[in-house]
Amino acid sequence: MTDYFVLAISCIFVNNILLAQFLGNCPFLGTSKKMETAAGMSMAVVFVLVMAGIITWITDTYLLKPLNIEFLRTLSFILVIASLVQFVEMFLKKSIPGLYAGLGIFLPLITTNCAVMGACLINIKEEYTFLQATVASFSYAIGFGLALVLFAGLRERINIARVPQPLQDTSLGLVTAGMIALSFYAFKGMV
């Protein structure tokens, strides 16, 4: 039990997928201008990343490894993720329209979110068991949401401030992200 707890903490804070592993930076900068879009994106990522983590783990262990075709990993993972996203979108549209309205536009964007693909590849690379992979995927997604919401809050404030013209928007956003990364860096010694 403690092992899983340590794994979760290390995935959320120490190896935060955005600020320490640099995965999923495009949506990080793209959807962080407003708190609502940031929250929507975070929820969508939690939803998809956990499912993608589980399904790619199963694909890799029971399909690619027994058949000795691991070199097709990149191709099969991206196909699994793309079809999963499409499936989730259709499922939500039919059965939970309220949630679909909230996540709607963020779902297709997730296909090219490298946080999802990256987390799946890390799960395989670290040779996690099924339960570990599930916990790690969930924690990575939570870490992603945490960093994104934190960053969106800061960015909303910065947008009110008067900033020199060349530094505006993305440029200062990146410097701010650097500062947040610095604070997350303090967790390094923990696990």
Partner: protein, 198 residues
């Protein structure tokens, strides 16, 4: 004709240089630029995938049904990424180990998909090749530039060679995560300065 091809090539190097002007494909830009060598390696791998996928997408642009074009593009890109993975494993194994999961992640690099969608599926083969090559080299250039800043300040070396004397204390944080964000942010600000003055 040749003039327009030259223009497609040149726009990737300056007016639409990917990480700075388009702000696309940031993950490898931030993650692998600890040193110049990593930057060049990653840049060239991406260039290969870009040129290959642009070529194939442009060749097949009249065959691919518009409704499922994104899925087709992704399969084409993934094929080239798998090829580049094999090539790097065979010839530059140490670099392959250093770049790690970021090589398979070229699949989800928005620059590659973006060029297929925005350019290659609407243009003939030659301009598409020029566009891919220009974008790829622009990407390589930016990655090496960021890598150079981070390596010189964070490690005191350039391509592994000592730059400063022994008295120089390396700025350790520059090769770590926070340094990547700050370097890119400041470089972006400098890039923004140029058109402002024009």
């Amino acid at each position: 004709m040749s003039k327009s091809i030259a223009r497609e090539f040149a726009k990737g190097l300056w007016s639409e240089i990917p990480p700075f002007r388009l702000v696309l494909g940031l993950c490898p830009v931030l993650a692998v630029t600890m040193s110049v060598e990593n930057g060049i390696g990653m840049g060239l791998a991406t260039t290969f995938v870009l040129v290959g996928s642009n070529f194939l997408v442009s060749l097949l642009r009249n065959v691919i049904p518009p409704k499922i074009r994104i899925a087709c593009f992704i399969i084409i890109i993934a094929t080239f990424v798998t090829m580049v993975e094999f090539i790097m494993q065979a010839y530059v194994y140490p670099l392959y180990l250093k770049l790690g999961i970021f090589i398979p992640l070229i699949v989800v690099n928005c620059v590659v998909l973006g060029r297929a969608e925005a350019f290659a599926c609407k243009n003939p083969i030659l301009p598409s090749l020029a566009d891919g090559l220009g974008m790829g080299l622009g990407f390589t250039l930016s990655l090496s530039l960021i890598g150079a800043f981070r390596e010189v300040l964070g490690n005191g070396t350039f391509l592994g060679l000592q730059v400063f004397g022994d008295a120089f204390v390396p700025f350790g944080v520059m090769v770590k995560a926070p340094g990547a964000f700050v370097t890119l942010g400041l470089l972006l600000a400098f890039m923004n300065l140029v058109p402002v003055k024009k």
